[in-house]
Amino acid sequence: MTSRATPAVGAPPRLLPLDVRTHTFSNGLLLACVAEHRVPSVDIEIVVRAGAALDDPPHAGRAAMVAEMLDEGTTSRTVLQIADEIDFLGAHLAISAGWDSTVIGLHVTSERLTPALEVMADVILHPSFPPAEFERKKREKLSALLQERAEARLVANKVLMQGVFGAEHPYGAPVGGTTASVTALQLADVRAFYQAHFQPANTFAVVVGAVNFTALALQLEELFGAWRGHRIARRPMPPAPAVETARVLLVDKPGAAQAEIRIGHGAPGRDTEDYFSLLVLNTMLGGSFTSRLNLRLREQMAVTYGASSKFNLRVHGGMFWAGSAVDSDAAADSVAVVLHEMKRLRAEPIDVAEMRRAGQYLAYGLPRHFETTEDIAAHLREQLLYGLSDDYWWRFVDRILAVTPAEVSAAAARHLQPEHAVAAIVADRNVIADDLQNRDLGAVILTEIQT
């Protein structure tokens, strides 16, 4: 009979460094390229270092709207012509704004790269911002926001971010904006954002796939060489408001089948020295199936399908959040469990075996995230956007595995703040409100749904 003992394992393979070639054009546009000929496709990301972090709350949604408008028309193509050309080439063009950047991404077979690149360059360099499409996009966005009021999980996210950052901070409103801010958005605002921030010196291009570097650089020179611009002054981000004591923001959703719970607070920026320790810490807390939050809330207490946590680190500061969708009558218990685990990670010595499991999950899992041209492009983008070292990904495994229990403890002490957290709950108030009051989770504040 076969031995059914746990199989032994050999040494892990190493992720070999990719050959990244770079070139800076005379206008400041940076190109980073990895030639990968084993698949006949190409992924290109053109990344503008401007995103929703630049939207003050009255203009929330502006960066996202710029992204939406780029392929709604150029000086030589209508929205349908753009879509048609891309679709016929079997290409995929996706444009979106995040907090720190706007990414124009193209996925296409290598043999169709040239015509697809032309369309891509056109939408970046010559968007025409047609008024009729803008009005339509505004209406679409406002309808979407209206629809989102019925989605408990989205409402919970929005209430949390506003609770943590307040109404005066760019991070207090979602990237897509609010009903008020989108209603107030003018086409002039959108154009002005584009003109101010879509500058060659503020942009980089990442190309991964079956390309020849020299030929590609020449192609990009032809398409983008005449793009002239200016340098952008970096704007500082206001600090997150201090949260004196923990509090619970409760949104009543009569008849809700579950309670969506979120717990969060501010976080450091992506350049924090504690980055690797935080990754390991978060994996332990809520970043994997075998994390504390998921095992406790799902597998032990069986009150949820899943629980998780994340440190969302941006160029300037960021947000920590933990969340789950739980049985309504377990909402208070679940919030308590999250806060309890956050406190334990600060108060108790870090268990070495638990830490190692988390570290290995991150470290040994890295090759899985480098399978496709799209994966590689995304990682190169992250490296360039956050100013990480050229050997960052090739050293990632070693740096994760080198994190110590003391470092995880220190990261928890510095960056987990259960006493200053905000909780957001979207649930049927009749089922849970009394339970919340009796739990010493902080002041309970009834909040209206706003999106």
């Binding site: 496709s41 048609d84 016929f88 209206l146 739980v326 899992g365």
Partner: protein, 423 residues
Amino acid sequence: MIQIPFEQYQLANGLRVILSPEPRTPVVAVNLWYKVGSRNERPGRTGFAHLFEHMMFQGSSHVPDTAHFAYIEKAGGSLNGSTWLDRTNYYETVPAHYLELALWLESDRMAYLLPAMTQEKLDNQRDVVKNERRWRVDNQPYGDWDERLQMMMYPPEHPYHHSVIGSMEDLDAASLQDVETFFRTYYAPNNAVLTICGDYDGAHVKALVEQYFAEIPAGPAIPPIPGALEVAPVLGEEKRVVVEQDISLPRTFLAFRVPPYGDERFYAADVAATILGTGKASLLHRTLVLKNQTAQDVAAYAFPIVVGAAILVVLATAAETVEAERVEADLLSALDALRTVSDDDVTRAVNLIAAKHLTELQRVDQRADAFSMMTTLFDDPARVNTEIDRYRAVNTADVRAFANEFLGADNRGVLTYIPQSAS
């Protein structure tokens, strides 16, 4: 031309094995399809195949209760499973040197799940699944759309009539005896396909498969799918259901019975769905969203299911202030236009499908799943490479003929969600 290399063979116990090398990245995907899904559930036990899938992660004779996930995550792998109408799959992607771990885990639960099964585990996972239902369906606007469409489009005796997630009542009724019976009936090597795709050692992989799976005895013959499997090619009428929910915008779903996946006419249905709903230039988007501005969003999808008939679904969410009736009228008008669809629309759709196909096959986990699917449903792993040719063979006349035959008033279910009237 797609030419992904693979090898196929079968163990004496009936387990079909597909091996497909991919040395590019040092990872390997292990994928198992069991040919059992919600279609195999008997009345009063809806949702059982999915509940059973959860039980498969709770340990087996040589794998401690909570260890399955931990073993894979500690190895830097990802894993999951899913239940569908026609099948249940289990998959993990691990660093290449952990292949043996994955095979050990999969074979142990295929062979030795029952000794580790307890009432406590069943009760626990029942609660998890009920919460999954609440999260996916009950607490989501329009959340029960697929359940309602299945009820409308298939008669009660058809195995696709009930939902994959099942009802709360049936989940409550599931017993440990049910678990045992289900396992013995369906979870056998002769009812399974194992695919290994990635950076494995070609010299040793077969020996590993032999080592872990060969000793598992074949199970009894698989019973036929319960119920009445045949349905008329078209519904024969229009059915209508209106649901009031706590939502702001109405959403309309139209469903049509179409030939089942595998039938050559299914490909025309899938091309039609792409023409209708994929991309800004698609028929529904350019008409309802861009031109008429009566819809907020649109989509179209052909379900790739094999028993009796499949369904094609189109949907649109009304823009603010637009009535559901107007959206439905616009949808019907666009579907009508499909009867005279242009060559351009067909070419665009086929190009999009081909591109999507190629992109998906770039990942070893998706590639492995594709091999398992083609082997389970059609006993033909080569279809991974030839499937795209079936799409390329669809021409304008095919799509027009499909629209004429299947997208009429005698073959549709109309499901409309409207905001709750103020009481």
